[in-house]
Each structure stands twice: as C-alpha cells, then as structure tokens.
C-alpha cells in the first residue's frame, strides 16, 4: 500500500506519478540490490512501491550484511541484479573496470550536472573508468548523507552557556572552556566490528577539506600526492591531537578505538553529560536513545571552517549511495529515469534520513526540520566532496586507512601512520 | 599378618541386596576359593574386599585392622581381573612397573622386582611387548605378574582363567598353584565357577548362592559330604544325580526307595520322624559302576553316550525321561545305545537330603555336636 496517496499532498510532484504510469513494464522484473536494511529497507521499499504500482514491473529488493562481498560474487559469477546500489565509489570503480556496469549515458551525466547542486561535483562522482579504459558515467547519486556534522545537546549548551562555534578557532576556545569547566568536549567511538576505524577517516577528511583546497583533496584521494605529504600528515596530526588527549575525549584515549561508534553519541544525553559534542554524519540520530527528540533534545552544526582560511569557503563532505545498472533492461533504464523525477526524492525526503542535492525536489517535502537544515547545508555548500576513504581503493580506503586510524589513536605518530598507509597503497599499484 | 575377617558384611545397590551378611574367617596364607553360580555375588564380595565397592554394613578386617574406609591401594591387596585389565598402551614391563612407579620406588628396585616376577612367570622375553601382541595365556600371566610385584598381603583373583582355552587353563592353573607355594604367607582369594580349579587350588572352598554362604570347607569335605542339595549338585562334574525318593525305614542304616523303582540301604542315620518322608536321593556319576551281580541300584535303557576317550558318560533312562541318570564309566567298557544297563554304587557313596535340601549326614553331625 502506498505511503502517501497519489494526488493528495501538494508538496509532492504528483505529475511525475502520472508520467510514470504511462510506462508499461508489466511482466518485467526489476531486481535491486542495495545496502539498506532494517528501517532503511522499509523506507526504500516505500519508494519502490510507487515504481511498481505505476509501471506494473515487479520490483524485488534485497540486501545483505555482506553486501560488498555479495555484489562481487554475484557480478563475478554472472548473476547480477538489474540495479545495484552501493555507497563506495572505490568498489564501483572496481566493478566498472571489470566491465560489469552498464554506462548510463552522457545525457544522464549532463542531467546531473544541471539539476544537482554544487556544480559538476556529482557528475564527477558518477564517472568512472570502464573496462575499455574510457571514462563513462556509470553511477547515479541518490540519497546523500551529509558528513562533517557536530551533534550536541542544546540544553547542555544553554545550561553551561556555550555558543555554537562558527569557526575552528571558536571551536578550539569552546573545547578549552569545556575542559576548564570539568567536562569533556568530545565523545569519539571508532569501533565498528570489521570496519573499526572508519569514523576517524571522516574526521581527517573534514580537516583536509578545511585546511587544503579541494584540488589537493582530489589528488590525495587519487594518491597523486602521497599520504606522507605534509598536508595529509598535518590533518592526521590535528585529529590525532584531539583523539589521544585524555582531557578531550570521554573515557580517555584508550576508549576511542574500543567504543562502538553506535554507542558513543549516547554520552551526549546522559545525566550529567559525559561529553558535549559528537562528530558524525547525518545518519547518527538513529543511534540516539529512544526518547531523544531531534531538534529539541539534540541538534547539530557543521564542522566549522577555519577563519584563517576564508578562501576555502564552506566545504562539505558527503557520502551517499550510487545507483548502477548491473544488468541492462528496459526496467533498469526506466528506473534510472524514475530517479530523475523529483517525486522519487520527495517520497523519501518526506520520511526520514534522506537528503538530496536535487534542486528541483521540493524542500518543503522534508519530513523534519533537521532534515531540511541538512538539505540546506548540502545545497548551500560551496565545495562538495565525497567521502575520501570511499574514493580510495578498497584495500586502502576500507583497509589500511582504517587500520592506520586505529594506530594513530593508539599513539603512533602521524608521520609513521601515513607512511604505513602509503606503503599499502604502493603494494596494490 | 594377613588374615581377612568378614563380619556380617552386607552390600546392596539401592534397594537390591546382593550380599546378605557374610561371615568369613580367612587365615593368613590360606588359599580360599569362592564358587557359586553366575550372579551369586562372588565378584561383588571380592571387589568389596579389594575396596572397589563400598560395603553397606558390617566389618571387614585385613590383618586385624578395620579397612572399611581404607582405599584399595592401602589395603595391601593385589587383584587379577577376569578380563586381565592390562593397560593396553604400556609394555609388559610398564604394566608390571606401574604401581611401583606410582609409588615412587627407585628405578633399581622397580627393575629388580619386575624382572624377578617376570622370571617366575617366564615372561622375561616378552617384557618389551605390548599386550595386544601376546596370547591370552601370556596376558593372564602379565596380569598376575602385575599383582606379584606389589608384594601384596592378600592376593585376589576374579576368574582369572575363564578367558583361556582349555590347554592354557590347565597350564596356568598349575602356575597359580606353584605361585601359592612360593608365597606361603600370602592369603589368596580366588573366584571361579570352574570346579576343577576350585578343587585343585583351594585350601577351603566357599560356596555362595544368592549372596549367602552355603557351605565352607576343604574340597574333599564338600565333595564327600555336601551339606545340602545345592552344594551336592554344584560340586562335581557331571553333577550328582539327584532322584526323588521316599524313606521306607528311618534309622541307621536308612532304607529309601527312589523314583527308579529300586530300594537302597544307606548307612546314614535318620530320625524316626523321617519315616515315609519325601527326600532326595543322590549318587555321583563317577560312583556308579556296572552291576556285576544281581544286586543293583538302577536299571534302565542307555539313552545316549558321550565317549571322552578314557571315560564315557552314559545317560540312562531309568523311567523318568526328564531325569536321565548319568554314569561315568571307564572308556573301554563296551556300552551300546538302547542296551539295558544295571548300575550299582558303594553304600558309602550314597547321599540323602531332606525336603529342604539339607543333607542327613549333616543332621547327624549336628546332632553329635549338640
């Protein structure tokens, strides 16, 4: 049953739905394989329902805890789904170079450039080198997570008289003040089972974007400048200083790597609070305690830029999922077209945990103020860059970079960590 | 000193009483054999003495000391199991040395005693073998050797020969007898249900039945003057012929008429009250001989013959097909199936038992004693 009755709420572009109805896909099956499980799965299904209902195609969505492994197996073994949705550009590059992805075409790339915010950042993100060695547009960005957000409790800030910092310098002052008041500025948790370490990579990337021009960032993610470049080492060092300072983090430096990232934000809401700030992407409210109301009990601000580097503007790191055709069919093509409709975005925006750079999507459709604010941050950013570690090859971005972060918070010097990571990158060249 | 004294020893498993109060006085250096039908509690009694089973009540003394609560290894006993119970993973040498190694004896001492025992049992050249590479008789000797080295005060055997073949059984039996001689101060308690073993080895035999001692005595006593029907039939092979009979005239001698239809005069005193009583009349197969004169005890057709070479077992139907009379006759006597045979026995070889199975001989003796 459709979540929002077509035609009923004017914040949706229902005209799209009528267009969609003209597409006849009866008897076709569209298999979609994506990373969304649990609550997210319910959400994505609620969107897919419209496609199914309107076109008559049978949509089969599935996911798995080991989806990265699964998609490799499935494509390699020649039984891919029609549509694959993946959050890792590195992995997508890999699939593209093995020739298992179908190019979406230049017109779609052009469409993205035109309709998504932040210039050609998104179109670039969807462009990969194919098996033939040629660049092509393979992946359609859909559902974005805004990274580089700092979460806090407005009550606690208010009570202690803290102000939301607008610059890194203010942030540094705030940290000092909190410490002086006997509190801990940060809750940091890097634990994530097999993926332990990744939250720190985000933080380092945030620092990179705020200390270096985007071109350096791009070079870094392509290893055109090495990890041991002073720019990178500096970023590692800044993060390292925070994470290894017992005064800065709840539980002390030792707890950083051991605490699960899903558990660490809970420190914001204990009485008395264990910490005052938490750096994490837009999805994190799912892991707040149940009675915490977003906007009332919890709020966020963007990880601020340096006042000393105004030329860098307000950079933003994002992550998100990209939609690819792994098995071409009429339905696959139609599905990509569906994603180009504002409705496909609005339906999810109106619910939870979905922001989009699609300018034509109705901002009023956002289900909550927090989402809307994130959407505004996304559209308003001057520079948008995708999660760097996801751009790197899997062995680095989902391997040695993570491990390196663990070493870093374990007390290893930034220089050594950088050298190690660089070595592993060299090993796979 | 190693006399073993049992005083009202009882043993039960839960509600099941196995031993019903055993009284026994075994003197130091004696060779005692427990016999009895399967399941009568022989092993249980032996195991209780060894300390492998806790006794339920009563007193058990070894060398005068109460050992009810003393663990097996401290009782000064050694035991040879029916199934050898060799340690399959150890060589013969190690099997024998095990208890001394456990006891932390010196290497030299161990070696000395093991070799000594091996010498006695002619095992010296097998010392390096594993049990599985030995024949049954050799294994049994190892089991005995293992017990010898412990230099026990009391030596317990649980049917040590029952797994051996006939020839080995004879040989090993003789070895045990010799062993006993070489250890005159060691008390030996031996369980078997083989009569030949019991008869040849025992100083005294204890006949058990359902957890009760039926009779204790020297082999000859039991053979010649069985106290009751059970012992009479249990001791001797083939078993004593037992025939229903009636006392025609009580007194001394007693005249009985048995189911075969003939009368016999038995030089055993019976009380007058026994006149006309139903009794059991017994005669051992080996006491029967072909009657030469007109005086005979039994007459009947030969039903079946088992020729054993030197002797033959002749089954004679004396009127009751279900109760064939067995006679052990010399192998060279020509007997044919179907032939009618007359058999006789010496008057002194006849036995009578009252309705409860008690021997009248015993009656008389009891009367004397009283």
């Amino acid at each position: 049953e459709l979540k929002f009755k077509p035609g009923e709420d004017s914040k949706f572009h229902w005209a799209n739905y009528d267009d969609l109805k003209k597409v006849d896909l009866k008897g076709e099956t569209l298999t979609i394989f994506g990373p969304w499980r649990g609550e997210d799965e319910t959400l994505v299904r609620s969107v897919l329902d419209y496609f199914q209902e309107a076109t008559g195609a049978e949509v089969k969505y599935s996911s798995s805890e080991n989806y990265e492994q699964q998609i490799v197996i499935d494509t390699q073994a020649g039984s891919p789904p029609n549509i694959a949705v993946l959050p890792q550009p590195g992995l997508i590059q890999d699939l593209a170079s093995k020739g298992v992805l179908t190019p979406l075409g230049d017109d779609v790339a052009a469409w993205i450039k035109e309709n998504y915010a932040a210039g050609d950042s998104w179109a670039k993100l969807g462009t990969y080198t194919g098996k033939d060695g040629k660049q092509g547009f393979y992946a359609f960005p859909y559902k974005i997570d805004v990274k580089g957000l700092v979460w806090y409790s407005p009550d606690n800030f208010e009570e202690a008289g803290y102000k939301v910092p607008k610059t890194q310098e203010e942030l540094a002052d705030l940290e000092k003040k909190i410490i002086a008041d006997g509190g801990k500025p940060w809750c940091i948790g890097l634990g994530s089972g097999g993926a332990t370490g990744w939250p720190a990579t985000d933080w380092v990337e945030d620092i990179m974007l705020r200390t270096q021009p985007p071109e350096v960032y791009d070079k870094w993610t392509k290893n055109e400048i090495p990890f041991t470049d002073p720019a990178v080492v500096n970023a590692l060092d800044i993060f390292g200083k925070i994470a290894t300072d017992d005064k800065m983090v709840d539980g002390g430096a030792k707890a950083v790597a051991a605490t699960d990232f899903r558990d660490s934000p809970k420190g914001l809401f204990t009485v008395p609070p264990k910490c005052y700030m938490h750096h994490q992407a837009s999805f994190i409210p799912s892991f707040f305690p149940e009675n915490v109301k977003l906007g009332q009990d919890a709020d966020f601000f963007p990880y601020p830029p340096y006042a000393s580097k105004p030329e860098l503007g307000t950079p933003l790191e994002v992550a998100g999922t990209l939609v690819m055709i792994t098995k071409d069919s009429k339905a696959s093509r139609e599905f990509i077209k569906f994603l180009q409709m504002p409705l496909a975005h609005e339906l999810w925006m109106a619910q939870k945990s979905f922001v989009t750079p699609f300018k034509a999507a109705n901002k009023d459709a956002y289900g909550s103020d927090a989402l809307k604010k994130q959407g505004e941050i996304l559209v308003g950013a001057t520079t948008v860059r995708f999660d760097g570690s996801d751009l790197m090859p899997g062995k680095v971005g989902a391997g040695s970079f993570w491990t390196g972060m663990i070493d870093l918070v374990g007390g290893k010097s930034a220089q050594d960590v950088a050298a190690d990571i660089q070595k592993s990158w060299d090993a796979i060249k | 000193m190693a006399d073993v004294t049992l005083n009202q020893v009882k043993k039960s498993y839960g509600n099941l009483n196995i031993l019903h109060g055993i009284d026994l006085d075994i003197k130091s250096g004696e060779f005692i054999v427990f016999v009895g039908p399967s399941g009568c509690g022989k092993s249980t009694l032996l195991r209780s003495i060894a300390g492998l089973e806790e006794i339920t009540s009563g007193e058990l003394k070894i060398g005068g000391e109460l050992v009810n609560d003393v663990p097996p290894s401290k009782r000064g006993i050694a035991m040879v199991f029916q199934s050898y119970a060799l340690y399959p993973h150890m060589t013969v040498y190690d099997n024998m040395a095990f208890s001394m190694k456990i006891g932390k004896e010196s290497k030299a001492e161990i070696d000395k005693r093991v070799r000594q025992a091996a010498e006695i049992l002619q095992l010296t050249k097998y010392l390096d073998r594993l049990p599985k590479a030995m024949s049954g008789g050799q294994r049994q000797r190892v089991a005995i050797g293992r017990a010898i080295v412990r230099n026990p005060k009391v030596f317990l055997f649980d049917e040590p020969l029952s797994n051996l073949d006939a020839a080995l059984r004879v040989a090993t039996r003789i070895e045990i007898a010799k062993l006993k001689e070489s250890m005159p101060n060691t008390t030996m308690i031996y369980v078997t249900h083989d009569q030949v073993e019991a008869m040849t080895l025992a100083d005294r035999i204890v006949v058990l039945k359902e957890g009760v001692v039926e009779q204790v005595g020297t082999p000859m006593e039991l053979y010649k003057r069985p106290g009751n029907l059970f012992v009479a039939q249990f001791i001797g092979s083939p078993a004593m012929n037992i025939l229903p009979a009636k006392i025609d005239k009580a007194g001394n001698p007693t005249v009985v008429s048995h189911v075969g239809g003939r009368k016999a005069t038995v030089p055993i005193a019976t009380p007058a009250s026994a006149n006309g009583a139903a009794v059991s009349f017994g005669v051992r197969p080996e006491d029967l001989a072909i009657a030469t004169g007109t005086d005979f005890l039994f007459e009947g057709k030969v039903d079946y013959i088992e020729q054993l070479g030197e002797v033959q077992l002749v089954y004679v139907d004396i009127g009751r097909a279900d109760l064939p009379l067995v006679a052990k006759l010399p192998g060279n006597v020509e007997v044919k199936r179907g032939e009618t045979l007359r058999l006789n026995a010496g008057a002194g070889d006849l036995h009578i038992f009252d309705a409860d199975g008690h021997s009248f001989t015993l009656h008389r003796e009891e009367a004397k004693a009283a």
Partner: protein, 337 residues
C-alpha cells in the same frame, strides 16, 4: 501459513526422497540387470560377481560426483587463479606468491595462525576431555554437557555479540558493560581494551572459538571414554594411582585415536574459521589470520582473486602434514579388512 508448511514439506520430501530413490533405484536396477535370485546357479554366481564390481561405484558415485563439483573443481580453479592477476585475466606467474611472502599482513597472519593452531585445538581437546571425564561421573552430567554444548548451537555472529558483552571496554571509572572489565574494576583494577591489547588480543579471540568448540570435542570424546574398559581403571586404583594419574596415564593413552580425530578436525576448523576475527577485530591490532586475510583479498573493495586464491592455496598447503598423518592412520585402520 498452512500452504507454506505444505509446500515446505513437499519440497523436503522431494529432496530427500530423490536421494533415497537414487540409491534404492540404482540398486534395484543392478539387481534387474544382473539377477542373482531365481536364476540358475552358475548364472547367479556370475551375476553376483558383476554386481560386486559395479556396486561400490553406485555407493561412492554420488559422493564422488558431488565432491568433484563442489570441492575439487573449485580447488583447481583456485589454483589457476593464484597464478593470475587481480581480475583473473592475465597470467602473472608466481608473483602472487612472492607478494605473499613479502607482505607484512601475511607474515603477521602466519604468526597468528601458528598461535591459533598451537592453542585452540589443544585447549578445546583438553577442556573437552576434562569435561567429558568429569561429567561422566555425576548424575547431572547430561545437563552439564548440554550446557557446555550450547555455544555450538549459536551462530558466529551471535557468538560475537555475546562476547561483546564480555570484552566491552568503557573508560575508567565509568559503568562497565563488559563483564570482564566490570570484574576488574570491581576489584580495583584498571579496565583494559581486551581486543586491542597487542599480542594478547589473539588469545581473547581464541577464547571465543574455544568456548564454542569445546562442546564438539566433549561430545566425541565422551563417547570414546565410555569405550575404555572399566577394569583398567579399577586396576589402576588398586595400583595406587590417584585420579590425575589415572586420567593421564590410563585414560588418555587409551583414547589417543579419538583425541587425534578431534584435534585434527578442530585444527582444520581453525585454519578455515574467520568469522570471529572478522566480526571482532577484522584483523586489526595485529590479530589478522590467514582465513580472514583471504576473505579480505577475495571480496573487499572489489576483490583481488589472484591474491585471495594464493592465500587459500597456502592454507591448504599448511594442512598437508596433518592430512598425510591422517591418511596414514586411515590406511592402517582399513588394513585389517
């Protein structure tokens, strides 16, 4: 629901029935082609001999076919891949093997694997044996055994959750939700991040596998223990051996064969198991093992089949000594028949 149950049962019957039908039918067919009953003597004899030639293959046939498809073919494929590059397209000779030898992670994994192999099979077998011995002596032994067996019924994912609540670390002075740290803190000690303590973290991971596999060892050893002749134990009691001596010198040597089987099985399992490492640390903090490393190279970030396959081949080679020993053992056994 009823329809589902019905269809499930139907499918199950088809599957199992098909298998039964094969064996029954093949045998029937053999009897039809070479009848041995109701034909004249010499023909029956000939037919019986022919049956004897064919029948073993009917019996091992399905196993051989399935093993060939599901294991032998993949092994060959893996061997081939180990000489190819990451995409599995270009021949690279021994480059992958060379890489492995020089790789830090690989060497670390080998070292850890040796640790695992030294500790886990021994610990599982030893504990399983002790528990089997002890539980045999008491009336509630079956219950105890079932509880020890329980972890075996839990999936690896479940197991890692369970152990999270044992190893979880919270900063000093805070409420600990990991049992181990709670105990340590209760006694005034300093809580530790167990899974990142270098070197020792290997052992904390091993404990999980030991916790799971001891039940396996226990079940198998316990049935072997029952086969020990009781008299040998009684003989040892009379010989004055104490319970420990009886255990070590009498019981253990007698079930050595079974111990070897259990040991081998767990050794092989240790070489293959990666779930625990994957979910607890993913090989970080120097806790990498070969199986997880292989998984990593196979599937992470698009996968490098060449290197993944190389590690798989190395794992298999590592077990060759154990295999050889076992095959010898097996041949010794069948020698008698």
């Amino acid at each position: 629901m009823a329809a589902q149950i019905f269809s499930a049962i139907f499918v199950i019957i088809i599957g199992v029935g098909g298998c039964v039908a094969y064996f029954w039918g093949a045998n029937k067919l053999l009897d039809l082609v070479f009848p041995s009953r109701g034909v004249s003597g010499s023909a029956a004899v000939d037919n019986l001999r022919r049956q004897g030639l064919v029948r073993p293959w009917l019996f091992v046939g399905p196993a051989m076919i399935i093993l060939t498809i599901y294991l032998i073919y993949p092994v060959i494929e893996t061997l081939r891949l180990s000489f190819l590059d990451r995409g599995g397209e270009h021949f690279v000779g021994l480059a992958n093997y060379q890489w492995a030898l020089g790789d830090h992670d690989f060497r670390n994994s080998i070292f850890n694997n040796i640790l695992w192999l030294a500790v886990v099979p021994a610990a599982c077998t030893f504990l399983g044996l002790i528990i089997a011995v002890l539980t045999d002596k008491i009336w509630w032994g079956t219950i105890a055994k079932s509880l020890i067996f329980l972890p075996l019924a839990i999936s690896f994912v479940g197991a890692s959750v369970i152990w999270k609540f044992i190893y979880e670390y919270r900063g000093e002075g805070q409420v600990q939700i990991g049992l181990l740290n709670a105990i340590i803190q209760y006694f005034g000690g300093q809580p530790q991040v167990w899974i990142s303590l270098p070197f020792w973290n290997n052992f904390f991971l091993m404990i999980i596998l030991i916790w799971i596999q001891t039940g396996f060892a226990m079940v198998i050893l316990s049935s072997a223990l029952r086969g020990i002749p009781e008299e040998t134990l009684e003989a040892a009691v009379i010989d004055g051996a104490n319970p420990f001596q009886i255990f070590w010198k009498i019981m253990v040597p007698q079930i050595w064969g079974t111990i070897a089987v259990v040991w081998t099985t767990i050794t092989i399992l240790v070489l293959k198991v990666f779930d625990i490492v994957l979910t607890m640390t993913n090989g970080q903090w120097n806790s990498q093992v070969l199986a997880n490393l292989m998984f990593d190279w196979m599937f992470r970030g698009g996968g490098d089949f060449g290197r993944g396959a190389t590690i798989a081949i190395i794992i298999m080679i590592a077990v060759i000594p154990i295999m050889v020993w076992n095959i010898r053992q097996a041949n010794k056994e069948t020698g008698g028949h």
